[in-house]
């Protein structure tokens, strides 16, 4: 069997997810050994404009250029995998999605003129068909490696469907939401990070996006009861996933 042709691409984002792949130092040779890496602009030269069996795309659609580029990648790829919370849910750049572009341009650039053809921020699946999502800010090294292995095997990657709270409990952390009254988004955020932040005493900010069936309404009223202002709660919940999942709820 010939190795699957793979491309790794970035739209608007911090490029941290692509970096996370490069950071798989011990496994990098295994990865490039298992696949035929045709395009990975961040990591190699001589990239090929060709068809791909699997395309991994980071970042979200923020400009018209992003939109065209994504559609082009889509047209050349068998399986399109959204990697990182920007690609999956819009990411931080979507946090202001409820405001007009013109107003934002005025605030940021001092003019309403849209040089970059900025558009309302979208997650990949809002623009093209996406087969799989690997969330995270950035993606977890272990999830990208096991994700590639699953795809090679013809399986879907195992991404946790339970919230951060479970991993936090397994590690026997003090509950920051309940015991300290912190604005912790662990109950509505997808696990897979091994509760990294709460394990260091820092409340979860929801960087892995909403867990399946996130009970945002209950989280919202819990935080309200703890005395947080409505705007602050909304802002926190919107940080990573406002383009998609939480749009309707907030």
């Amino acid at each position: 069997m010939s190795k699957p042709k793979v491309g790794i691409f970035g739209l608007t984002g911090c490029a941290g997810c692509q970096l996370a792949i490069i950071n798989c130092e011990d496994e990098l040779l295994d990865i490039v050994g298992a696949v035929d890496l045709k395009s990975f602009v961040m990591a190699q030269s001589n990239n090929e404009e060709t068809e791909f069996d699997v395309a991994f795309v980071e970042g979200s659609v923020v400009t018209r250029e992003d939109e065209h580029y994504l559609k082009e990648i889509r047209s050349k790829s068998g399986i399109l995998v959204a990697i990182g919370s920007c690609a999956c849910f819009g990411g931080i750049q979507a946090a202001a999605n409820d405001r007009e572009r013109e107003d934002l341009l005025q605030i940021v650039y001092g003019t309403k003129e849209n040089f970059y053809e900025a558009r309302k921020v979208a997650a990949l699946h809002e623009v093209v068909k996406v087969e799989l999502q690997i969330p995270g800010c950035p993606i977890e090294k272990s999830e990208i490696i096991s994700g590639i292995a699953s795809l090679l095997r013809g399986d879907t990657p195992l991404i946790p469907t339970y919230p951060v709270c479970l991993e936090c409990k397994y590690k026997e952390n003090l509950c920051l939401l309940k015991e300290r009254g912190d604005m912790c988004l662990g109950p509505v955020t997808r696990a897979g990070c091994d509760a990294r932040c709460p394990s260091h005493g820092v409340a979860c900010r929801g960087c892995r996006g909403p867990v399946e069936e996130a009970n945002t309404a209950s989280e919202y009223s819990i935080l309200l009861e703890k005395g947080y202002a409505e705007e602050d709660i909304k802002r926190a919940l919107r940080t990573f996933a406002y383009a998609t999942e939480l749009k309707e709820k907030l």
Binding site: I31, S150, T161, Y162, Y170, E172, L174, C175, E213
Partner: protein
């Protein structure tokens, strides 16, 4: 000669508290010493405790129960490769003496022992169980405790030694032949039981019983859950529930798990793991084809208690809830099971917020 005295299971002795530290140290002969340790304010966990003074015996509950010693949150079942076939991880030979286990937790272990040796024996659990020595210590309940109505406030089995606080002394009960050997190791520290100690033991039991605050009727629960199958109580709770699984993770009797294969990039080797799973997760009752038997949180919550109460009672002749209060103490949404039980049995709610 001390060794000539036949002790046996069910024997009793008195340990003056001034010798407790030495008694504890002597237990180290039998395994690594563990017990409830205060990590920070509001957080007590079972963990290594070299000396008696490290123990937080006045604390009511640990975050995770004893099951973490018997059935870790995530464990390797075996490694597999096309070259070597299946390779099971080496079994740790280390023994652990877990000191300060409360009656609710002892009853929970006794129940897990039955579950894991029932229709489908669990060799990994059994191997770990044989290396876990349990020394129980009694306790005074707090506002989340409801072991008394659940019938788990005393322990008749599942411990090697059990210590009851009777003031200046501990009343020591032997629960196994190993417990007998452990007591013999400290024979010079313990003394015979006199009538006054028996009286003090029962006085302590009375005091303890009076400290329980909640009116619950566990005998009616199974029936009440069926009668109240369409009760609004479940929807009420379902709205608040975050499906975070904290209740199941910290429950001393919850033992559902999921089995997953993590295959390496070479596609020729990997590891089969099992990890705790729980019925509060949306995927728990999701089957091939995409149908979910319990898509609603309220139905998952109801199912959790039907299993704990009705199913455990039918299968093991005892309730699957020991009233330890961990699910209340740990619920971020302040769902209180005492309140749910009281509502479902038509009683006045006496519980406090979680």
């Amino acid at each position: 000669m001390a060794t000539e005295v036949l002790l046996g299971q069910g024997s009793v002795r008195i340990l003056p508290k001034k010798y407790a530290a030495q008694f504890y140290k002597n237990l180290g002969v039998f395994g690594e010493l563990h017990g409830p340790v205060q990590v920070k304010p509001g957080l007590v966990v079972f963990g290594p405790a070299a000396s008696f003074s490290d123990l937080a015996l006045d604390q009511v509950r640990t975050l995770l129960p004893v099951k973490k010693y018997l059935f870790p949150p995530k464990e390797e079942q075996y490694r597999f490769s096309t070259r070597e076939g299946f390779v099971e991880p080496e079994v740790e030979e280390k023994r652990t003496v877990l000191f300060g286990v409360h009656p609710c937790d002892i009853n929970a272990v006794a129940l897990l022992d039955r579950v894991t040796s029932w229709k489908y024996p669990d060799p990994k659990y059994r191997a770990r169980r044989q290396r876990l020595i349990i020394v129980g210590v009694d306790c005074i309940p707090d506002e989340y405790c409801f072991c008394l109505p659940m019938g788990s406030h005393t322990a008749d089995e599942g411990f090697d030694l059990f210590l009851t606080d009777i003031g200046e002394e501990y009343f020591v009960q032997v629960g196994s032949s190993l417990g007998e050997r452990m007591l013999r190791e400290s024979w010079d520290l313990v003394k015979q039981v006199e009538q006054e100690h028996i009286e003090a033991f029962h006085q302590r039991a009375e005091e303890r019983q009076k400290a329980f605050r909640h009116d619950l009727d566990a005998h009616r629960l199974a029936q009440a859950i069926l009668v109240g199958f369409s009760s609004p109580v479940w929807d009420e709770v379902g709205k608040k529930c975050l499906s975070c699984g904290s209740c199941a993770a910290t429950c001393p009797t919850c033992c559902c798990y999921d089995v997953l294969d993590e295959v390496n990039l070479d596609l020729k080797s990997g590891v089969r793991i099992r990890r705790w799973d729980d019925c509060m997760q949306p995927e728990f009752a999701l089957v091939a084809g995409g149908h979910n038997f319990r898509a609603e949180r309220s139905t998952r919550f109801k199912m959790r208690f039907m299993h704990k109460i009705n199913s455990f009672k039918a299968e093991f002749q005892r309730l699957g809830c020991v009233g330890c209060g961990r699910c209340i103490a740990g619920c971020p949404a302040d769902i209180n099971v005492i309140e749910v039980f009281q509502k479902i049995t038509g009683k006045k709610v006496t519980s406090v917020a979680g």
